[in-house]
């Protein structure tokens, strides 16, 4: 039995060693990643100067046409992340500040995402390779339920989120495979109009009275002298519970309601996402209202 216990201890030791080595290896690879996604690019970038930085979920990513800002002479990048919540938007802004970005304006898409202040596993996982390299990321995750496992158990984060930061992603970074996340200055145009997908039900959705991460973004902007523009972006006509946007306005009067700037179905790819034509109309309106000087 003694032999077996020693043998088991050896296996455990081998397992821990492998975990530590692989953790280091994956971490090294992620530190070289520059053309895969927005998070990796920001983390591995040098200080940047922006006139406009756009943050939010896919409703930011697909709705703000960065080039139209650039045409006006405003250096812009759309950092909206599909599937992301305000948890990630806030961390992204903090990361930019940590990386010494100079930002004049932040446009935050704040509407449906105000209804929760939880992390979005799929998106937040992309920050985790850097949890030991950035105090900001570590602090941001500190209050999460599984922080101890993610931070202290070597390689655990790569196992838990293998679909996002596992060997496939690591392999693609090594191969230098590019994604389209950084094309069009971060704006992802939707072109396909899917028939029959033009309805939504948000009756049960309510904005949180005090969304921690929304307030955090607002606070950072104030402290860093960044002009903060929060907007609600359009949805298609056939939505049950459209008064959600009024509820948002009530709780957060500073958020500009652009929900009904574009309404016709022909401008939408799905109910919550405009196509390229719709996004251009919407962006033009934003430019006119906030940057027409």
């Amino acid at each position: 039995m003694k032999r077996f216990l020693i043998y088991t201890a050896k296996i455990l030791l081998i397992t821990v060693l492998i975990a530590v080595v692989m953790d280091g290896l994956y971490n090294y690879v992620f530190l070289q990643s520059k053309n895969r996604g927005k998070i990796e690019t920001v983390f591995n970038s040098k200080p940047q100067n922006y006139d406009v930085v756009i943050l939010g979920s896919s409703r930011a990513n697909n709705h703000f046409v960065s080039k139209m800002f650039e045409d006006k002479g405003l250096k812009t990048f759309n950092y909206g992340m599909s599937g992301g919540h305000l948890f990630e938007a806030s961390l992204m802004l903090k990361l930019m500040i940590e990386k010494k970005y100079t930002i004049k304006n932040v446009i935050l898409e704040a509407d449906l995402n105000l209804s929760n202040d939880k992390e979005s596993d799929g998106v937040s996982a992309k920050f985790l390779p850097y949890i030991h390299n950035s105090e900001i990321i570590k602090e941001h995750f500190e209050n999460q339920e599984n922080f101890n496992e993610l931070y202290y158990i070597p390689f655990y984060r790569y196992i838990k989120y293998d679909g996002k930061i596992g060997f496939r992603e690591t392999g693609k970074i090594i191969m230098g495979e590019k994604t389209n996340a950084l094309d069009n200055l971060g704006y992802y145009p939707l072109v396909k109009h899917k028939n029959g997908n033009m309805k939504n039900n948000i009756v049960n959705l309510n904005p949180l009275k005090h969304n921690k991460y929304y307030e955090e973004i607002k606070k950072i902007c104030k402290e860093k002298n960044i002009a903060f523009i929060a907007v609600m972006t359009p949805m298609c006509e056939n939505v049950k519970g459209m008064n959600y946007f009024d509820k948002v306005k009530k709780v957060y009067p500073e958020i500009h309601n652009y929900e009904n700037v574009v309404v016709e179905n022909k401008y939408f790819s799905s109910c919550g996402h405009m196509n390229d034509a719709g996004s251009k109309i919407f962006t033009a309106r934003i430019l006119k209202d906030f940057f027409n000087k």
């Binding site: 039995m1 032999r3 077996f4 043998y7 088991t8 050896k10 296996i11 081998i14 397992t15 492998i18 975990a19 692989m22 390689f155 196992i159 838990k160 989120y161 293998d162 679909g163 996002k164 596992g166 060997f167 496939r168």
Partner: protein, 477 residues
């Protein structure tokens, strides 16, 4: 509590420690601990079904004794049929009632008689097909005087409820497991080490091969109407490796865990995809079930006695019943039937036992022939798996039809955000490892076992699929 869960990783060392350090005095204390651990393990799924398991155990224990004690044939027959009917009754109610009610109602509707079936809202108790078959084989063996009845209830309960085999087999035989349960187990370092190797290799099969293949197979099968021929072919291959990795991985873990407690379970898989014909495949796939059907259905039906026609009839019966054992769905019955059809040429040529030797390859024509036979057997097995995996028989037929009619053999992007071909290399490597170790129980033991063990652990951590957690397929049966 799944074998690949954190809960099991905590449960196993605790039971191991208590077994060898606290309850190690006699075989009774060892068995008592294993029974408690097994019942706890089972109740982690649904404690309510524990009563069903205990009742089923007691029924077979009691009827077994009554059959042995029975002075007249009539008494023996009475207890025998009581056990058979109650066991099959439970299985019928929990697993098959809704299927029969639905099918009967559909039949009536098709001839113009309006009928709506009365369905039962029941959850299938996990492992019921397995522990029922344990009990049945025990009672049948006593009735035919092949074994003596077990009078120690704890020993018998352990034979039925032993946690490594409780929920998905292997389906044990009283002649094999009971004698082991009846003696005090002494710790063997070599056996425990073998167990560790088998557990690790089983985990590789489950989380690296099966669960990764499942991601691709699901993306293809669930959207088969928009898939091209190449994707559909890959979908069938991926599912073949998913079910193999899943079930043989489970069996490896079960056998390995059991070795840690000094008990050997029946081998359930023997590299089935290296079979040269379908008969050999069934001697290597889910061996404990195939041999169960052979001993308790095929042979009692007359086996191969009575000429070719009887042999064919009995073969079809066991395959269809075997298919039905897997689940209450026509797709499983079709899968069983297809396998019986594959058997037909072998039966007609009387060559179903021609590939009994170990496969040896060298640079000659015979080896090429052997390789072609292996590939052909794998191909027809994949076709049968399509029926096993599809939701309905119509889906399976349309899936097959589309392979031939679509004729597009390009790479496709799947809705799991991966390309359909991405997994081929990993499967190729897995096949190569298994091929080179086909004479062993698992590939880790032997020379440089520590290096191989480290590589296997590394593979589990780096290539395993954890975020998209999947249950063991055979738990649903």
């Amino acid at each position: 509590m799944f074998f690949n869960s954190i809960a099991f990783a905590i449960f196993l060392p605790i039971v191991f420690f208590l077994y060898w350090f606290v309850f190690n005095k006699t075989k009774s204390t060892q068995n008592a601990l294993l029974i408690i651990a097994s019942y706890y393990f089972y109740s982690c799924w649904d404690w309510r079904f524990l009563f069903l398991l205990i009742f089923s155990t007691f029924l077979d224990y009691y009827t077994g004794i009554q059959i042995e004690k029975g002075k007249s044939d009539k008494t023996r027959k009475f207890w025998f049929w009581l056990s058979i009917l109650v066991n099959l009754g439970f299985l019928g109610v929990f697993k098959y009632y809704n299927f029969f009610a639905n099918s009967f109602s559909e039949l009536l509707n098709s001839v113009g008689i309006q009928a709506s079936p009365i369905l039962l809202n029941l959850i299938l108790p996990v492992g019921i097909s397995f522990y029922t078959f344990h009990g049945l084989s025990y009672v049948i063996d006593i009735y035919y005087k092949r074994i003596k009845a077990e009078y120690n209830f704890v020993d018998y309960s352990l034979f039925v409820s032993y946690f490594p085999l409780l929920v998905a087999g292997p389906i044990e035989r009283a002649t094999h497991l009971l004698p082991q349960v009846k003696v005090k187990r002494e710790f063997s370092f070599e056996k425990a080490k073998e167990g560790i190797y088998q557990i690790i290799w089983g985990l590789v099969k489950k989380v690296v091969i099966a669960d990764t293949c499942a991601t691709y197979a699901n993306a293809i099968f669930d959207n088969y109407t928009s898939m091209n021929s190449f994707s559909l072919i890959l979908g069938a291959v991926y599912f073949a490796f998913q079910i193999y990795g899943d079930f043989s991985g489970y069996s490896d873990i079960a056998l390995g865990v059991s070795k840690l407690f000094g008990l050997d379970l029946l081998r359930n898989f023997n590299y089935p995809y290296f079979s040269r014909d379908i008969a050999e495949f069934w001697r290597r796939w889910h061996i404990s079930l195939s041999s169960w059907f052979r001993d308790y259905l095929y042979i009692p039906l007359g086996g191969s006695k009575g000429g070719l026609w009887m042999k064919i009839r009995n073969t079809f019966i066991i395959f269809v019943v075997s298919g039905f054992w897997h689940g209450a769905n026509w797709t499983y019955i079709a899968w069983g039937f297809i396998n019986a059809v594959y058997f037909l040429p072998l039966l007609l040529r009387n060559s179903n036992r021609s590939n009994m030797d170990t496969i040896e390859l060298s640079l000659n024509f015979n080896s090429v022939k052997t390789m072609i036979s292996i590939l052909w057997t794998f191909l027809i097995t994949c076709v049968a798996w399509i029926f096993f995996r599809a939701k309905t028989i119509t889906d399976a037929i349309l899936y097959l039809k589309r392979i031939f009619t679509n004729k597009d053999f390009g790479f496709q992007y799947l809705d799991n955000e991966r390309y359909n071909y991405e997994l081929i290399l990993m499967i190729g490597l897995f096949v190569l490892i298994e091929w080179n170790n086909r004479t062993k129980i698992e590939p880790i033991s032997g020379k440089k076992s520590t290096v191989k063990l480290a590589l296997a652990i590394m593979a589990i951590m780096a290539f395993g699929t954890f975020s998209d957690y999947k249950e063991f397929i055979y738990f649903q049966f």
